[in-house]
């Protein structure tokens, strides 16, 4: 299995999202990234969301996205997403997807869960390039989608600033 150091050719966001449900071990790595000079827009975020959801609409509820409302530095923003789910074989979260509106590209991360995960709560730290909306979408074992969003004010941006000595 090889991973590429240069921007991937031919692989698309859709490929990644389709393969996100497969076992990671041994799979060719598909990048979430398309290198663009310009920033994402709210429309791009919606388009990215609908690549996963297809024609379904996410319902509000069951998902809680925790982000600080005011961020001192966009380079590391603590984030917690919690989904209300019994995580049983019959009813569990299969994936959580995170999106943003104004970074160079709309994807943040995707997490894959199963009943062995026990509790659908994931915490990490993300980069935010501007004050914007971040959206979390939970995919359930019954095929439904649930979402929550948070607005964040970012005072010092990540991604779009140059390296300083």
């Amino acid at each position: 299995m090889s991973s590429r150091s240069s921007p991937p050719c031919g692989s698309s966001r859709r490929d990644f999202l389709l393969h996100a449900g497969e076992c990671a071990a041994g799979a060719v790595m598909i990048s979430l990234v398309t290198i663009r000079a310009s920033r994402a827009t709210p429309d791009m975020m919606q388009a990215a969301i609908h690549e996963i959801l297809g024609t379904s609409e996410p319902q509000s509820g069951r998902v809680k996205l925790d982000l600080p409302p005011l961020v001192e530095n966009g380079n590391a923003v603590p984030l917690t997403v919690s989904v209300d789910s019994p995580m049983t074989a019959q009813d569990h979260v299969t994936a959580i997807h995170l999106f943003n509106e104004k970074n160079p590209q709309p994807y943040v991360a995707s997490f894959r869960l199963n009943p062995r995960t026990g509790k659908a709560v994931v915490a990490t730290r993300i980069k935010l390039a501007d004050s914007q909306q971040v959206t979390a979408i939970a995919q359930m074992s019954d095929g439904s989608f649930w979402s929550d969003s948070a607005q964040v004010i970012v005072t010092i941006a990540a991604c779009v600033e140059d390296v300083q000595p």
């Binding site: 600080p68 603590p78 600033e161 300083q164």
Partner: protein, 307 residues
Amino acid sequence: MPSLRATAKQSRAAWHFGLQRRSAPRNDGGFVPDSGFTPVGAAWKGLLVPRSLGVLLLAAAIAQPSAQAADPPPENRHSGYAFMGPSLRAMQDDDMANPASLWLQDGETLWRQPAGTAERSCADCHGDATASMRGVAARYPAFDARNDRPINLEQRINRCRTTRQQAAALHFESHELLALTAYVARQSRGLPIAIKDTPALHPFVEMGRRLFYERQGQLNLSCAQCHEANAGRSLGGSTIPEAHPTGYPLYRLEWQSLGSLQRRLRNCMAGARAAPYAYGAEAFVDLELYLMWRANGMPVETPAVRP
């Protein structure tokens, strides 16, 4: 006695160059309606200046805080921790979430690793760091008899490396030196900073104080103008802290890495558009000494997290 007056020419330069924060220009033009802040001059892009400060800057001369009267009384001092939001404070407090823990892990490994032609580790002389290094960082920079002047903790570690381990000195801001310094300083976490103003150290504390109050750079700003006269106010969307180095080396989100106090001071100097001193410069150590003395009694937080 530092010069108190900016020349007219320097005032104009300050207007022109502005204080450019390294932030993307805001869509709204950097103007927050009637928050008590006003954009001062077109050159100050993205910089919101409190109106009271704007008035001060419009004056021909900005009054410098008096060097004697402005030493903050202990009960009024606040660590940069107090200026952060709850999620960053939680990041600092949780050892598993604090990215500096990665450097601490390496520091602990380096502590036990034999080095140099003497093939001696720190542990060979100093044993268990949690015992032997307790309280050490809280009293650095300390007077060094050999150089007849103060040295900081990084220099003290390098002194041991070269004289006791017969190893090459570690470069400033290298991963190894940061890891070792953070590991040693971590052993003082929670202890009060304890710089002794001895007769030998006193002239260097005073030199550091002079540097703190001296204007520098194209913007002709002194440390005190931001960190004493305007601590707690906003500068380009960030809150100006009081400049107490309670948590160094620290993980700065801006760097996405651990870094030393001198690195941070270089950022400040670059911000005032002054040529930063080189790492290890005597002026830096004097300034570090003054800042630590000024923070005497405040608890060590190393390794801190800061924006």
